[in-house]
């Protein structure tokens, strides 16, 4: 594969050097600095004192009361819990919406397939902020849904359904944001699927339900797991949907972190929460890598 040449190692180093330097300084560097900041005392004016302290992490669980005693404070645990629940729900809903669509697309002719997959990817490349605030027009007071309900006579003029600033609104926003990321990997694994297996199952009197359950689902499992992770991980750290559709009242991990730096000016706490989020993501990715490896081992053996 290689072009025979002298100085191959040297060329490689020269070619990769910009990558190492840029990502090393401007990606790994910031993450390390953030880890250090999370272990320091916060300065009320933003920034930190150079003094070791676990206050940032302790603050996630505890609060100091009037008497200077630490007591358990559930507020941030609730936010972490809400992020988990909403991210999980968004993943499940995306799967329910995305799975049949991915299957249907994978069974089309090459030409139709290409166009449909292109249409799935287009929203991903457009501005997430704008796509999310489009939902304000739909869900908001006097928006598309409310005015059509009024037009149809379901509700009275001036009444409101209070669709905005709820957990459901955030959930809609999350599903809408990351749905394409569910469909693409599932589609990729379904496209490779051997259709003769389906025929064989049908010949052996498999019902359609068990065809899905026993053949299609297991065969597309790598794509399903990949899609679930691609949806779950960004949902966990989402900022735009909870901020615009949740009105900043229902905080999620992502908006909590942003708030610490934009308004609360508690850097070490914000950095500590960011570290927790990063850790959760690393755990999910590690879990995924293990499943993938197992699957590969199984495939090479079997």
């Amino acid at each position: 594969m290689n072009i025979q040449g002298e100085n191959k190692t040297q060329n490689r180093v020269v070619a990769l050097l910009p990558l190492w330097v840029v990502i090393g300084i401007f990606m790994i560097g910031p993450l390390l600095v953030m880890a250090v900041v999370s272990l320091m005392k916060s300065n009320v004016y933003g920034g930190v004192h150079f003094e070791f302290s676990l206050d940032g992490y302790k603050q996630i669980l505890f609060d100091t009361n009037l008497f200077g005693e630490r007591e358990f404070n559930p507020a941030y645990v609730i936010i972490i819990g809400r992020s988990f629940v909403l991210a999980s729900l968004a993943t499940i809903i995306s799967f329910i919406i995305g799975f049949p669509a991915a299957y249907y697309i994978s069974r089309q002719s090459k030409k139709v397939k290409d166009i449909l997959i292109f249409l799935v990817t287009v929203p991903f490349w457009t501005n997430l902020l704008i796509r999310t605030f489009a939902w304000i027009i739909i869900l908001g007071k006097g928006g598309v849904i409310e005015s059509s309900f009024i037009f149809l006579g379901f509700i009275n003029e001036g009444d409101t359904l209070n669709l905005m600033y709820t957990n459901s609104a955030i959930l809609i926003g999350l599903v809408y944001s990351y749905l394409p990321l569910m469909v693409l990997p599932i589609y990729a694994s379904m496209e490779k699927m051997d259709m003769r297996l389906l025929e064989a199952a049908a010949d052996l009197y498999s019902s359609r339900i068990s065809l899905i359950r026993k053949v299609i689902l297991p065969l597309s499992m790598p794509g399903i797991i990949g899609g679930c992770i691609l949806v779950f991980v960004p949902c966990l750290g989402a900022f735009i949907a909870p901020d615009l559709l949740g009105g900043g009242k229902k905080l999620l991990l992502g908006s909590l972190i942003q708030f610490q730096f934009a308004s609360a000016r508690n850097w070490s706490f914000g950095a500590a929460v960011a570290m927790v989020l990063l850790l959760l993501v690393i755990l999910v990715l590690f879990f995924n890598a293990r499943i993938n490896k197992k699957h590969r081992d199984y495939e090479t053996q079997g």
Partner: protein, 270 residues
Amino acid sequence: MKLKDKKLKFRHVWNFPGFGGWTAIFFGFLYIPILVLISYSFNAGKFAMIWTGFSFRWYTKLFSNENILDATFNSLIVACTAAPIATIIATFSALALVRGGNFKTKEFSNGLITLPLMVPEIVTAVATLIFFAFLGINFGLINVILAHSVFCIPFAYMPIKAALEAMDPNLELAARDLYSNKSSAFRTITLPLLTPGIISGFMLAFVISIDDFIITLMVAGGGATTLPVYIYSMVKMGVTPEVNAVSSLMLCFSILVVTGYWFLNRKNNN
């Protein structure tokens, strides 16, 4: 005819009833909000959500709004600087990683490229904010450009890598056999063949940079407002038809670029 229909149905055990309709709903869910936004940008009335009639007035108003023009200009400066930087780094990396055979730091370098995709964007944003604050780097747009250059690398890398992998390395070998020296073989064979891939990578990096909001919001200081950040501040004050108009233009721009990318790659694949 009836028999034939039955036969066809029998053969296609893999067609499930209702999946087609479900897929239509799926695409509706993806595109209806975009269509609603664009159609409401032509609303004549002052209130964004109440339809009163068709008009271009908000679009013409955009061009006299200096804040929007400034923000657009900033966005373009950032994308026009960050996207080429990311594309150049991605091109060199792809050449080394795809053509360089197996070597010790390959896994590590692959990991570095995907790192910006793995780390949640909000974490990247605040980490970069802290980092710049500690180093005292406070140069407005330059901060944004630096952050974007890093974040865009993986997006520029993907199509370039794909183009390199699809290319036959024997072409360059043949040129070398015919006494072309290494650099001229690269210049006359590899680079021209790789150009569509590089352009694709540039386009994706450009779109990602233009559309980026979270990192820009955290990293940009005063005077470095880009268009998405400005749109955000407008939305926070309330959705107006003007926001709808500028947002529609942004959406259309991204969609146009990505469609261009798609046609470029499709031609390439055929």
